[in-house]
Symmetry: C2
Subunit: 296 residues, 2 copies
Amino acid sequence: MGKLNLSTTTQNNSNLESFFQQRVDQFLKTHIKSNNIIDESIVYALEAPGKRVRPTLLYLVSDALTLELDHADAIAGALETIHTYSLVHDDLPCMDDDDLRRGQPSLHKKYNEATAVLAGDAMQSMAIEMLLDNQHFTEKQNNLLAKMLLETIGSKGMILGQALDIEYESREANESEILLMCELKTGVLIEFCFLAPLMIADASNEKWERLGKIVGISFQLIDDLLDLQETSENLGKKSQKDIIRNKKNYPISFGEKKTVELLDAYKAEANNLLQELNLDEHYLSNYIMNLFDRRI
Amino acid sequence: MGKLNLSTTTQNNSNLESFFQQRVDQFLKTHIKSNNIIDESIVYALEAPGKRVRPTLLYLVSDALTLELDHADAIAGALETIHTYSLVHDDLPCMDDDDLRRGQPSLHKKYNEATAVLAGDAMQSMAIEMLLDNQHFTEKQNNLLAKMLLETIGSKGMILGQALDIEYESREANESEILLMCELKTGVLIEFCFLAPLMIADASNEKWERLGKIVGISFQLIDDLLDLQETSENLGKKSQKDIIRNKKNYPISFGEKKTVELLDAYKAEANNLLQELNLDEHYLSNYIMNLFDRRI
């Protein structure tokens, strides 16, 4: 564990990110044919240029645990499909009302609101089907992975996070409430990128779990910071929207300085955990450190 | 097969419907605790008085195939949860814009639109979890059932039906297009009430499949007829809404007379199939015939 064994499939580390992006995109392309208006709109949303952070994390954690990459393809596809469905519903006028996503019109602007509701619904079904159809695992493993993902995205997970996000627009929220909201609406799906391969490899331990948890929360905190600092053009989506909507994210409520301090602490902790897990030479470490330093 | 073996659990046939309604309601009640705003809204939607047609059909088909009723509980709960999620999203202003459902305010009127989108999303996850958690079947059977249901409700099934329903508001549709839309938006989920127990009992044949198909299509045709003929008060939801929205359902496009003729033909065919399947003494036959004669 901990040694990069991807050198046979890629020329060097700097190509790894685009390698993983292309890998999950290829999986999605072969799985979703555009036969009708709903599938066409799903392809539109999935083909928009995203960073594919969740698939990349999943592949890297899988590799670090010496799992085969092709065993992870269906999980990567499911994760990106779930993430995209959550964005499509989140962008609806009755939710965050965003017209721009991944540098192009949101699905409800390109098509219409009804199509966006339905396409998101169908993407959720599609993602779980991908997991259950994975031929590389046993029925029991597929069953467990699907249940884990459904719990992650359900009414006690991601959906609750999005509901709290909306609820806090109209009331005050304290620090622990805001951190919980961050973890639920964004963190838990990123945590799943760690927990899924850990379950398959039967390698779960507190260090790995903690790593997944802080990477997940930090991802949202960085998003919130960038939303305050960047222009829409650089982000590929509307910036400063949280202030406009009276949202209660961490930097808005407690200031940029305190957010940066919290992120620095999480980054140092993640770095320690990666060393303790003997992953300092694995590209997962670079990738996670780069996530902490990202500007987009 | 074909003999009613429910006599030990119910006093007489006239109590059967409320017996099944209570049975699935009890299952849902023990499975969904109202711990947060999303779960609370889900309980609100699920506790509204519905006819529980899908669970009842599922239980009756299961019984006709001599399956145990408690093995069907999780499937019944999943079916009612999926059906309710589809109603919650369908009632949204950007879809059919209905303020009234099952005699009470629609979820987005009782709460708000964002909560309705999120609650529907979470109900889909919850329903599939119910299937995957069913302790009465093997993991392979649970996975097969979940995949069957996901395909049924996905972008080539129920969701496509709802997309076509919206699409036809702004263009003409011919008879076969309208019948396909009926089958997809409503029929396939009712068909699943037949196909799921058939799969578990390994008893699938063309007669059973045809029965499920025509009961499913007919259910939508009867809904469309009632929508034209009844008042909102009797229906528990807005009536004549299809004409108002320029929808292209069968009676609107081809007249009430032709719809009644088609339904009479389907009813006669269903009756023949039930006899050929030796089900004329099973309560499933009464129930299906009553569905054809329903006025609400």
